[in-house]
Amino acid sequence: MRQFLKVVAFMVVTVGLFAGYSNLGIPQIQPAPPPTEEKIDLSAMTMDQFVALGERLFSGKGTCTLCHNALGRAPELGEIAISSQARLDDPRYAGSASDIEGYIRESLVDPSAFVVVGFGKAGSNDTESPMPSVNSGSIGMSDPETAAVIAYLQDNGGLEITVEIPTDLGEAEDEGEATNSGEPREPITDIQELVDNHACEACHTITDAAGDIGPDLSKIGATQDRDYIRQALLDPNAVIAEGYEEGFMPDDLGQQMYATELEIMVDFLSNLK
């Protein structure tokens, strides 16, 4: 019996150690809740806002930057003006699009219609794309959202924006109330949500979604203090890092963010070392 109790105690202690390590040795991350459809009020939207929405979707809900980034996991989308036409002219092209807008939409909704050489699923000989369709399943963008991403991609690639802001509001209709009710929005406390909402990673490398339009911020805390970072957020053109151009960074973050959000951002950036 003594042996038995010893063995039982040993086992319970072992399980306890494993559990303890998982609870105390590992950071407890509260995962984000499942994604919901973004509320869109299309009726009052200008094209600039529509493009901005597309940009948010691109780096946020769409999770496009997971792969379409400087790591080269998926084709570069910045040269879309040249590449789209080239792909339409490609003898391998067998899709149904006839213009660039159509090509972009097709690539979003049916990624396997044309796969750029070298980016197909392993073993499929570039006939099958690893990208999920944006309007089904795990990404689940609505048609207006897809249109917004197309607008953003065209704008970002230096093309004329041919896509129209959908007038058929569909689901978006009843959602207008929420945004028009005039109530202040809830402050965001999640840094990733902040980063996504302001699409910082479209230009900056922060963790690993590498944008290179703006300076690399992944170690910014090692060289700059909090005041510098705060100023750079509020008045980005005050000091321009060498090799980068003035005027790219939005200078209205001070109007868009709550003070608490700004401080979360400053805290976060100053701790990146």
């Binding site: 319970v12 399980v15 499942p34 997971l66 073993g123 999920p132 795990s138 990404i139 406390t189 999640d190």
Partner: protein
Amino acid sequence: MKGTGSLRNVSNKLIYGLFITLVIGLVSVFGGADLFAAYAAGTEAAADAASTGGYGPAPVTTAADYPSYAGVNGRLAIWIFAQLHLWFAAFVLAVPIFVFIIEVIGMRTRDKRYDDMAYEFIKVSITAYSLTAILGGLLLFSLILFYPDLFSYLSVIFGESMFYYALLFFGESAVLYLYYYGWHWLQGGLKKWIHLTLGLTLNAVGTTLMLLANAWLTFMMSPAGVDPAGVFSGDTWAAIHNFLWNPINIHRFVANIAYGGSIVGAYAAFKFLTARNDQEKAHYDWMGYNANFIAICALLPLPFAGYYLAAEIYAYSQQMGITLMGGIFAWLFIIQAVLIGTLFLSANYYLWCGMGRSDGAKRYTKYIKYIAIVLVGAFLVWFTPHTLVLTNSELKSLGGPHHSILGPLGIMPAKNTAVNIMITFTFLSFLFYRRSNKVATVSWEKTGNIIQVALFSAGIVNILFLGIYHGYFTNTVYKVAASIPQVMTTFTVIVGSLILDSFIYRGAKDVGPLHWGRIPDRAQYALFLLAVAFTWLMGLMGYIRSGIRQHWHVVDIMRDNSPDAYTPTLGYAANVVSIATIMFLAMVIFVFWIAQVSTKKSLPAGYWKE
């Protein structure tokens, strides 16, 4: 006890046996596939006749569609029942596999000890069968109660296969009872052959059951045979043979053997500790050694089966792959590293202690500390690079799980290198153990040893070269690609030195008789640690496998709209796994205890009239 010289025989035969098992397993996977295909051809015809119009899209649920009963959290109930069911199922599927092998070895060598050991293994697991069925029933009931829409959707697609599953379960029980209760009756000559055929049938039925159940869960991860809205095409075979089915089949088949070995190892360890005389001690030491050997043989290929599964998950959906390795779950792989490190260290420790059984082991003990240092080093490398990326407080302030904070592929090479080094050195431990009781007699022994040292050194250099150069100085494609020659190097070292060793030790002399039972008590605790770590690890990995579906019942087809459709924190998951582990261990202790109650007799004086 005729222990002398049996050590090498045991190892060789078990290696051979496990190889045969793998072959049989693969054949039954693919042979089973043929059966399924034939069956599916039938259903296809039926489906054509019925036309696909009869099936509706996947149900869209709201929070109200998830009933709650008596304040029980449905997700938690399902989680625990499924996990307990899985542990028992893994155990009862694995035991007949190696019982069959051991019985065959006994039949070939005509050494009755094997037959007795095989019988003892099946005896201690017999109660576990009914527990498996009971827990399966609980899982089914709670699925119907708490997730009725999901269950009815799945039963539309798999209804027929569920029916066959139930029938097979009857078959499994029937064959099992014949196999177990007929053990002493079916002995000798033709009867033994009949008994072995029963054993093979038992394994075939058991494996088929597992394949069917695997189809249901892999369908939820990588649905097939349905259109994007979830309308079933009527082709059951397509739904069964979905993208992740075979990767899971292989992974589970190998893992089950390792798991079953570790559980019966714990049984033998406990019997060793409570043995009343030296003969019993020797018997259970021998049994524990064999069980551990089975566990380790299956453990060595397991990382590769796991790697294959992960690669297939990536291939199926890059997004799911990134969730798996780059998001919140990335931290789980650090816990996994700690556990697998525990497994390797305790397995090695047991081997080192076991060298005490031989009088010739002294020659090798001086090397053991170096192996220990390398193992611990590899263990540390394995999870250090992750934690250096961000400190805990930084990550807390970071908050979100999105994006691959840890740059998973960037650190996979370090991890791969460490795993390969650990496997190579574990094999070295085993090699020392094998040699400990032998003295080579061939004239070229020294040269042979030098070649073997060179093979190991060159292999290790190559593993390090591939890991460091391709891991840190090239791009993602190279990093992933380089893991293949790395694995093959490990494999070559193992196979090469096994062959070389068998030549060096051809006709070798024994140092002296092996002293079974001459092993310290603390070595038995290594076996307990192995069993507990295995159980816990399986629970954790099961959580990941299920968790990467995120807020989907059936990925991209049927969304989970219940209030619990979020990923819990790792601490919460670890606590659930821990509680379930303790419940499982308690039940296993009961199963083992009940197995020996049947041998106990009380003779109360004067109770019965004379």
